[in-house]
């Protein structure tokens, strides 16, 4: 899996990644290669570094050591390059982070118009198409505050998709939602996965992981403890730490 042919670089290639917050060693020697179209679910106890890891990929956090390469382009301090890489990566947050003073439609149109230089009619067409795809076309003219949590998160997914990203990052997208609403968001994500989107999801939804993940990454104390296809991961975990985590999670 590390021997990618030259013509198709890995979607994301992470080697020797380390990150500290002051004295706290948040990420330790992370190695992870994500192939185009691959769906990765990252799980682990809180504080294990899973959010930090995916936030490094689009430079919401700066890594201290090692390298991150997105579609062949290495992430450096260069602002232009950071922006280029961010344009290819969509991100969905735990707390949606929709812009509260804009309608859902305006939320979706802002980035295509300003970062992709689309005309207003083109951006609106795009926004309406993706709002349709996440099944909330009728919410286009409402403000985020008027929507349910699940609708807001689907709007946030649509907003990210409007940039036509090649990679999507999900940072605990269902953790702030009521249990009965989680499913509508997961269904949207499953549809996205089935369309071949490269995805990295930090989530505790193990049913989701089982259903769509190509690989499950288990992290603890800033390290990747185990990486395995969901079949092996859930039925036959190799590490004791993984077994303990799964036992706690499934009970």
């Amino acid at each position: 899996m590390n021997d990618m042919p030259e013509t198709e670089p890995a979607a994301v290639e992470i080697t020797g990644l380390n990150k500290w917050y002051g004295d706290y060693h948040a990420l330790r020697d992370i190695q992870l290669s994500v192939a185009p179209g691959e769906r990765i679910v990252i799980c682990g106890p809180s504080g294990s570094g899973k959010s930090s890891l995916i936030r490094c990929i689009n430079r919401l956090e700066r890594h201290d050591k090692g390298s991150i390469t997105v579609e062949g382009l290495e992430l450096t301090d260069d602002k232009k390059r950071i922006r280029t890489i961010r344009r290819e990566i969509g991100m969905v947050f735990q707390h949606f982070n929709l812009f509260p003073h804009m309608t859902i439609l305006e939320n979706c149109m802002l980035a295509p118009m300003s970062a992709r230089k689309l005309t207003r009619p083109k951006a609106e067409e795009l926004a309406r198409r993706f709002l349709g795809r996440v099944h909330i076309p009728e919410q286009a003219d409402k403000y985020p505050g008027q929507l349910s949590g699940g609708q807001q998160q689907r709007a946030a997914i649509a907003r990210a998709l409007c940039m036509s990203p090649r990679i999507m990052l999900f940072d605990e997208p269902t953790s702030a939602l009521d249990p009965e609403i989680i499913k509508e968001v997961l269904d949207t994500m499953i549809e996205l996965a089935n369309d071949g989107m490269t995805m990295l999801c930090v989530t505790h939804e193990m049913g989701f992981a089982r259903q769509i993940a190509d690989r499950v990454v288990f992290m603890d104390h800033g390290r990747i403890v185990e990486t395995a296809p969901p079949g092996d991961f859930f039925t036959n975990p190799r590490q004791d730490r993984t077994r303990l985590f799964l036992r706690q999670l499934l009970h």
Partner: protein, 219 residues
């Protein structure tokens, strides 16, 4: 007792005094906001000396009486800089210098009330800096700062009465003039007080209206 015909006769002068009061307050407030933005940039600068300048400025303004600041600008500044300031210009400048320190604090507090997630979402969407500033942050900042900004402005309108000491003929100075001419202090100062109250009450109504609209629009 209040003599209505006397008030009626001198009322045009009060109106022009009120115009000056509003004018210097608005000009001082506008200029103060510009200076405040500069202070905010200094305070958030990566360079320590820039942050010191902002901190010293703010504590100087907060730690000295407005009257003294006005006198410094009017009497001391020309001596130091070699430029003569008219009372009106000195008045506007001193109101601007004073309000800037407080407006900077209002803006800073307003910024910290915007959740970090908003900045992160804007970054993740690769929005250009000016779009983040003007389309994402500024509208939310406005919503946060309108109420305290209006209250700062009403403070400034009231503070502008002190400009009468450097002979700016604003509302209070007008009242003093009218009193010395008519020997009717009650008429003069009750009229002035009433006009101050009407101006400030009108502003507080507008502010309440704005807040109410905001609450309906978002969240």
């Amino acid at each position: 007792m209040l003599d209505v015909s006397n008030v009626y006769d001198t009322f045009p002068r009060f109106l022009s005094g009120a115009g000056v009061t509003l004018g210097v307050s608005l000009a001082g407030f506008a200029l103060g906001t510009v200076i405040a933005l500069g202070l905010l940039l200094l305070a958030r600068s990566r360079l320590a000396p820039a942050r010191w300048i902002a901190a010293v400025y703010t504590s100087f303004i907060r730690g000295t009486p407005l009257l003294v600041q006005i006198l410094v600008v009017y009497y001391a500044l020309p001596g130091l800089m070699g430029i003569d300031l008219s009372p009106l210009v000195a008045g506007v400048l001193s109101l601007a210098f004073n309000s800037a320190a407080f407006i900077a604090e209002i803006l800073r507090a307003g910024l910290t009330r915007i959740p970090t997630g908003q900045f992160e979402a804007a970054k993740a969407l690769a929005l250009p800096r000016h779009v983040v500033a003007f389309n994402v942050i500024l509208p939310q900042l406005m919503r946060n700062v309108v109420p305290p900004m209006v209250s700062e402005f009403t403070m400034l309108v009231k503070a502008s009465a002190i400009l009468s000491v450097i002979t700016v003929v604003e509302l209070t100075r007008t009242a003093q003039h009218v009193m010395t001419e008519t020997f009717r202090p009650v008429d003069a100062f009750v009229t002035a007080a009433a006009i101050y109250f009407i101006i400030l009450y009108a502003f507080s109504m507008v502010a309440r209206r704005l807040e109410h609209n905001d609450k309906r629009a978002a969240r």
